[in-house]
């Protein structure tokens, strides 16, 4: 009951956040986004034809009317059709979001699990050579551009210049084997890049936890390293870990990974969003922005509930 009340309360207090995000993003779209008019008119248009297109795109209406229309779309969950391709926005999201999820989830999970594992090893061996080796590797991973990692991974694993084991492009997934075949190299690239950031962050969390009295006491009792790191250190460090993971989820769901999707020719929502930004496809952008905002509100709520789950001292009141 307490959780339900808390959830409802948070949902209501999330409305101003939703309002603020949609208002600011819509203002950016309207005043700074691309104008599609001249893409849609022919080579020698008359003024009347230009005005027709502007009217079709809704450019001739004032900001308030357009924003209220946006609010109506959010409430009815009907964002219309993409200006560029004519595809209903709901269909576009239903087609691309699962692909992005299937693409990024393995990298996200592996990146976090491996990050936690390496961070635990580094924290246990703090200032030792193993710690320095892991952290050195993390800095290298963080320092290399994601684009370079993608191109290098493609050349090494997918091209005739390298091993040529995996596809360069495409998403023809009809079985688990197809899935693994297509997701392997993108996952490697994602893990390579995220591992550095995750390991550094988690190590800092674990090092701080290990300096606490209860860990010193456990070590004094002679608790072996693995139970100590998993039961005492990891469990008590879960709050910042949950926060980091939870706040990544909206981006994983909605943004996908633009570069991965572009370079591997994967029809995910990241590429669709990028195309919408560069072409000024407002129906798609409006849907993605509002979906992201709603997800953040939900994540905030779930995050707090998880806090209480891992630490019963936390109150939801």
């Amino acid at each position: 009951m307490e959780t339900l009340q808390y959830t409802l309360r948070k949902l209501i207090t999330g409305l101003p956040l939703l309002f603020g995000v949609t208002l600011i993003s819509f203002a950016l779209m309207v005043y700074f986004g691309p104008d599609l008019t001249y893409e849609l008119v022919g080579k020698n248009p008359t003024q009347e034809q230009i005005e027709r297109v502007q009217s079709e795109l809704g450019y001739d209406q004032n900001f308030l009317v357009r924003y209220l229309d946006y609010v109506r779309e959010i409430v009815t969950l009907d964002f219309g059709q993409s200006f560029s391709t004519g595809e209903p926005v709901a269909d576009l999201l239903a087609r691309t979001v699962p692909v992005s999820l299937a693409l990024t989830l393995p990298g996200f999970i592996l990146g976090n699990l491996l990050g936690i594992l390496l961070a635990q090893i580094a924290a246990w061996n703090r200032s030792g050579w193993l710690d320095k080796l892991i952290m050195g590797g993390a800095v290298v991973g963080m320092s290399i551009s994601f684009l370079v990692v993608i191109i290098a991974a493609q050349v090494i694993f997918s091209s005739s210049y390298g091993l040529n084991w995996f596809p360069v492009r495409g998403w023809s997934v009809y079985s688990l084997a197809d899935y693994l075949y297509h997701v392997a190299v993108p996952t490697l690239a994602l893990v390579f890049v995220s591992l550095g950031y995750n390991t550094r962050f988690y190590r800092a969390v674990f090092v701080e936890e290990m300096s606490r009295d209860h860990i010193r006491t456990a070590r004094a009792y002679g608790t072996p390293p693995i139970p100590l790191m998993l039961r005492d250190v990891l469990k008590n460090s879960l709050i910042p870990i949950i926060t980091r993971i939870m706040f990544s989820i909206p981006m994983i769901i909605v943004s996908g990974s633009l570069l991965i999707e572009s370079y591997f020719g994967i029809p995910g929502v990241g590429k669709a969003t990028f195309d919408a930004i560069t072409t000024g496809d407002q129906p798609v952008l409006k849907a993605v922005v509002s979906l992201t905002a709603v997800l953040f509100v939900l994540v905030l709520i779930i995050n707090d509930i998880l806090y209480k789950w891992v630490d019963p001292r936390v109150s939801l009141k």
Binding site: Q81, T85, P98, N164, R169, K271
Partner: protein, 615 residues
């Protein structure tokens, strides 16, 4: 520990559910025994609707799914028209105003739910009437109406009525009779022009003129036709996204055996490509066509060279150094020449730089002295422009530089046209500035508009370097960047930029298509983005626009080209050379241009008995 097991199980199931949800549509899967051609394009089409076939990418999609009355011959260059859906070339009245077209009987649209019984009906002449009318219905957001604007008797009037109907919330009357656009019977169409329009037949080879059945528009709507095609072309669209399009062969495509000699086959030029194998057979020869739209050059090249993915690619600029061993003549390194077929061909178009003559700082001025000084300033900048260096740095030295705006591949090109407008002459440039009183202090700030990209920035810096040599202080040459081409295009169309680089792809192989870029009435927001207004040019344009091809018209074209050069309205032109490569199991000669987009119907694969291994 037991309590965590359900969570782990749940998480595992959730992941599997995500993966399943991300699976491809089973309907899009190919048969492993099929012949599959995997094509790639270096940009994206966003629509397959003929009324929006304005880009080379969209036109390519339309050409494969729909039919046009005419097409260009497969191999003949310069491009030559040939009947496609039309039975023969049009009958043209002596006054050049009435065109009669005869359509092939027995051609059917692909089966589609738009038709009452789901079966594609016969293509009839009234479908072309409807398809051209669509361009004048404001609801359809046509990008191709300009081709027939004011040209066909009564069509513009109908467009006005359609607009009024739309404003009143009603449907336009597509059954209305248009005097200049009539289906005389199911297979005969007559077009009556308001004035002679020798390029009319060319326009009927463009994707814009593809025949769309009214049932498809009624059933799928304009938005639906952006990603769904109901045509009678050689292929049927299965799925379309801005990243990938999949077609299958139209099994009911008309019987139309290839006459290779008629198509322009030349043993010396095409002999090595194995094209004899298609002679006498009816296209299409492949079962499935997959088109990957890949803007990222490294990904496209890796996919092409992987061996089992895309089978065709243009060579990206950054690969040119490793692929080519010579640029004059073009020679390909043996590592590539042994594995792939290749072809170096000029683009059907050119790149150039325009000055905005509506900008009083560099263009026309009400004060005659200042007007002359501005003219001298433009000419001096043009003399400082180093085409050779531009070609070497950015086009691998493969470009063809020529004066004016009539490219070598069109009738009307004059190889003897004086070339001083493309030769760099810094002394003459400085003398011009001095003669007209330009000094470091009074030179205007030159604003250069471009998209925010590395290549555009590099081109700007090269340009700024030349102007500094000419005497411009570096801070007087500024780049105004735009986030994307759409924004740059808007600024150009609104006449807000002083100078800019731009490209033009030929809609048809006639110099009229490039000379109209400087025709006064086409000023911004039209395609005359230089906003040139020259009475003699406009008069000659009007005169030549109604003339049939021939020496007299070429003479006028030549004079118009001279006027553009004399006005120093631009710095032009360079036609890029593209290196196209394709796998050796393909029997084809590809063509990336708008005019060449019909080639896929002629593509065949060497039958190794193993099928095409579709993804």
């Amino acid at each position: 520990m037991n309590s965590t097991r359900p969570h782990i199980l749940f998480s595992g199931l959730a992941v599997i559910a995500m993966v399943l949800a991300g699976c491809s549509d089973p309907a899009s899967r190919g048969d492993p025994d099929q012949k599959v051609y995997r094509h790639s394009m270096d940009g994206s089409a966003t629509s397959v609707d003929p009324v929006q076939a304005s880009t080379v990418y969209a036109n390519f999609m339309v050409n494969n799914a729909y039919d046009t009355l005419y097409r260009y011959k497969y191999l003949e260059r310069p491009y030559a028209l040939t009947p496609n859906l039309a039975r023969d070339m049009p009958e043209i009245s002596d006054d050049g105003l009435t065109y009669t077209f005869r359509l092939r009987p027995g051609v059917h649209y692909v089966d589609d739910e738009a038709f009452p019984d789901g079966q594609g009906r016969e293509v009839v002449a009234s479908d072309l009437v409807f398809s051209l009318m669509r361009h004048f219905d404001p609801e359809q957001l046509s990008q191709g109406a300009w081709l027939w604007q004011g040209r066909i008797e009564g069509l513009n009037d109908w467009g006005e009525e359609a607009a009024e109907a739309r404003d009143a919330g009603e449907q336009p009357d597509y059954d209305a009779e248009i005097p200049g656009l009539q289906a005389l019977d199911d297979h005969t169409l007559q077009i009556r022009l308001t004035r002679p329009y020798p390029q009319l037949t060319y326009t009927l080879a463009q994707g814009f003129s593809a025949l769309v059945p009214p049932e498809a528009v009624d059933h799928h709507g304009r938005r639906g036709l952006q990603r769904h095609a109901v045509g009678s072309g050689p292929f049927q669209l299965v799925s379309f996204t801005p990243q990938r399009a999949v077609f299958v062969a139209n099994e009911d495509f008309r019987d139309d055996p290839v006459d290779l000699e008629y198509e322009g086959y030349d043993e010396e030029v095409h002999g090595e490509f194995g094209l004899e194998a298609i002679d006498g057979r009816s296209p299409p020869f492949i079962d499935r066509l997959e088109i990957d739209q890949i803007e990222e050059t490294s990904a496209r090249w890796n996919s092409f060279t992987a061996g089992n993915e895309i089978q065709y690619s243009t060579v990206p600029a950054e690969q040119a150094e490793s692929v080519l061993t010579s640029t004059d003549p073009v020679e390909v390194d043996a590592r590539y020449a042994d594995d792939y077929f290749w072809r170096a061909s000029p683009e059907a178009g050119f790149v150039y730089m325009n000055f905005n003559l509506d900008d009083p700082a560099i263009g026309y001025h009400e004060d005659p002295d200042q007007d002359r000084a501005n003219h001298a300033l433009r000419c001096a900048i043009r003399k400082a422009f180093d085409w050779e260096s531009r070609n070497d740095r950015f086009y691998q030295g493969l470009g063809d530089v020529y004066p004016g705006v009539i490219p070598p591949m069109v009738d009307g090109f004059n190889p003897d046209f004086p070339d001083d407008s493309i030769r760099r002459d810094m002394d003459a440039a400085r003398a011009l500035l001095e003669e007209h009183g330009w000094t470091e202090d009074n030179l205007p700030e030159i604003q250069y508009g471009a998209v925010s990209s590395v290549t555009d920035r590099q081109m700007f810096e090269q340009f700024r370097g030349w102007l500094e040599e000419l005497g411009f202080p570096g801070d007087k040459v500024r780049m105004r960047t735009f986030a994307n081409f759409g924004d740059l295009n808007r600024a150009i169309r609104q006449g807000q930029i002083m100078s800019f680089n731009i490209g033009w792809g030929l809609d048809f192989p006639d110099a009229e298509n490039t000379l109209q870029l400087y025709y006064g009435p086409n000023e911004a927001p039209g395609s005359n983005s230089a906003n040139m207004k020259n009475d003699e040019f406009d008069r000659l344009y009007d005169e030549s626009a109604v003339m049939q091809p021939g020496p007299d018209r070429n003479e006028i074209y030549n004079r118009m080209n001279e006027i553009i050069v004399d006005e120093c309205a631009n710095i032009s032109a360079l036609t890029r050379t593209r290196i196209e490569m394709w796998h050796q199991d393909l029997i084809m000669q590809p063509d990336r241009e708008i005019l060449g987009g019909f080639f896929v119907r002629f593509v065949d694969l060497i039958d190794d008995g193993q099928g095409g291994e579709p993804e």
